[in-house]
């Protein structure tokens, strides 16, 4: 299938010696709605920075719709757009001017730029504010201004770095609707977030990054399934050859004295134990099958609370 983004062996070591990316491989299909999830400092913004040419990579390759950024950067750039994590427009410029200028940098003639500018400002509810100076916009409006600015050259790949951090719930929902619509029109979208909920709501595929390494690269359904289920390993007192028929969970004998049980968290372990007891199968001990993902998510939830306080916009 056609790849919107293909990253191989990407490494980045900053001047101060911080190894932000330790060899990332990432593929995003054309037309996908993709989440790059990870806690603060994981390397999400660094990855994006390299793709959009704001950060020089240390090693590895990046292709955008098959165009290698080392070979034809100009062409690659014209296919991508980025909505960065931090505001990066001139605070003293007018909303409309910011967008028209950005269009100009991509070589779009003024008349065409004007009509696109109007379309996106209207869609994002900023048309009334077009003559306002950027500094006077609210946090949510500033973020939408960056989205309008990103779309003006009609990119095929839109990358948003934590687009809803610090945005209130109502606005977040309308932003989600807008992004879904853009995606339905054929634009591939990658967003970074540290809210699992956001990724879950919007994205079909997901990669999870932590400490500069990819921990997961899968589709949303599989990930949710795995998060929703827990797996425990039971050591049995007597060897078994067959197991009772059950429907509520799945289990398998990895050897005659070891039973691996995968059960939905909402069901819990009680019915498992009563079934075993009912069939006179005695359990000697029990342990959790180690789950890196789960540990990571507990971490994510913890850091979310902190970030919500910090990232007032």
């Amino acid at each position: 299938m056609n790849k919107a983004l293909s990253i191989r062996g990407l490494r980045k070591t900053y001047h101060n010696g911080v190894e932000a990316l330790k060899g990332i491989d990432l593929e995003v299909d054309a037309g996908d709605f993709f989440a790059l999830l990870g806690p603060n400092g994981a390397g999400k913004s660094t990855t994006i920075g390299v793709v959009v040419s704001l950060i020089n990579k240390t090693a590895g390759s990046v292709k955008v719709f098959g165009v290698d950024i080392d070979q034809d950067f100009s062409r690659a750039k014209s296919l991508i757009a980025v909505v960065p994590q931090e505001f990066n427009f001139n605070m003293f410029e007018k909303v409309e001017q910011i967008i028209l200028n950005q269009a100009g940098y991509y070589g779009i003639p003024r008349t065409q730029a004007r009509s696109r500018c109007e379309r996106f400002l209207r869609q994002l509810g900023l048309w009334e504010k077009r003559h306002d100076v950027a500094r006077e916009l609210s946090g949510g409006m500033k973020r939408r201004l960056m989205i309008a600015r990103a779309l003006v050259h009609q990119p095929k790949l839109l990358i948003l770095d934590e687009p809803t951090a610090g945005v209130d719930i109502e606005l977040r929902a309308s932003m989600w609707t807008f992004l879904r619509q853009i995606n339905a029109e054929g634009v591939t979208i990658i967003l970074t977030t540290h809210y699992l909920e956001e990724a879950e709501n919007l994205c079909r595929n997901i990669a999870i990054i932590n400490h500069g390494e990819l921990v997961e690269h899968t589709n949303m359904q599989q990930l949710l399934h795995r998060l929703q289920h827990q797996t425990v390993i039971l050591d049995l007192a007597t060897p078994q050859t067959a197991l009772p028929e059950v429907t509520q969970w799945q289990w398998v004998l990895t050897d005659p004295e070891t039973l691996e049980v995968e059960v939905d968290r909402t069901i819990g372990l009680s019915p498992v134990f009563s079934t075993l007891e009912h069939h006179h199968i005695r359990v000697l001990s029990m342990r959790n099958k180690s789950n890196r993902l789960e540990t990571l998510f507990l971490g994510l939830v913890g850091s979310n609370v902190k970030n919500n306080n910090k990232e007032e916009v």
Binding site: G49, K77, E86, N88, N90, G104, Y105, G107
Partner: protein, 257 residues
């Protein structure tokens, strides 16, 4: 990008720079008029009347080309250094860095902005000068070439300064401690032939001397230096600064981590 797209990009950037000059006109266009008027009143009228002639001209007339050049130099430099540094500081330079616009166009756009302001202020100062003196330009082409070349050069220099700058202080240090002294010593207010031989040869190290002298030749028809040398100096410095700026910009020096 196609030629048409490159042209659109350059036009956009230049227009943006020009509108910035107009938007903040109390900072960009008014101060030079005030300072030069003061120079004319104090040095020209009050003190100049006691000096008599300089370089074969009325003192008031003698200082006109130097004051115009001083305004061109300071304003070209200040425009590019502060505009590009503030784009770095507010990070809106990223708008340009993520776009396919080539580095050369970015540099050219800023230089055109600097030249527009340099020349605008130069012309305004010249008009003020006409109120105090009766200078008529002897050689228009030479005057225009010297003024334009100097403006381009100091726009490029301002860009260079902004690339290195990390704080707003970094873009005021060079104008205060290097440009202003060199401009004063470059013969705005006196002919270097007044200096003893030794100091004359020291003064000749100063590139600004050549620009002011070349411009003065264009305007008044009198000079201390061979004009061909002046033109070579300006062109050489333009080439060196342009290449230096472009190389650093392409590498993303202090722009990309």
């Amino acid at each position: 990008m196609t030629v048409g797209q490159l042209w659109t990009a350059l036009l956009t950037l230049t227009r943006k720079e020009a509108s910035r000059v107009l938007r903040i006109w109390p900072q960009t266009l008014v101060p030079p008029v005030v300072t030069t008027s003061l120079y004319f009143v104090i040095f020209g009228s009050l003190i100049g009347s006691r000096i008599g002639s300089m370089g074969g001209r009325q003192y008031m007339d003698f200082i006109v080309p130097g004051l115009v050049m001083m305004a061109v130099i300071t304003n070209s430099y200040a425009n590019v250094s502060s505009s590009f540094f503030s784009a770095k500081f507010q990070r809106n330079v990223e708008e340009m860095l993520v776009s396919p616009m080539p580095s050369a166009i970015i540099l050219l756009g800023y230089v055109l902005g600097g030249v527009l302001r340099g020349l605008a202020v130069g012309v305004v100062v010249a008009i003020v000068a006409l109120l105090f003196s009766n200078v008529t330009v002897v050689n228009w082409p030479l005057s225009i070439v010297m003024m334009l070349g100097t403006s381009v050069l100091f726009s490029l220099a301002g860009f260079f300064n902004a690339l290195f700058a990390r704080t707003f202080d970094d873009i005021s240090i060079i104008p205060t401690f290097v440009l202003t002294p060199l401009t004063y010593l470059g013969g705005v207010f006196f002919s270097i032939t007044l200096l003893p031989d030794f100091w004359q040869s020291i003064a000749r190290i100063n590139p600004i001397l050549y620009m002011i002298d070349g411009f003065r030749l264009g305007v008044l028809g009198t000079s201390d230096i061979d004009v061909r040398l002046s033109i070579v100096v300006v062109l050489t410095f333009i080439t060196v600064m342009f290449v230096a700026d472009l190389v650093l910009l392409k590498r993303g020096y202090r722009l990309r981590s």
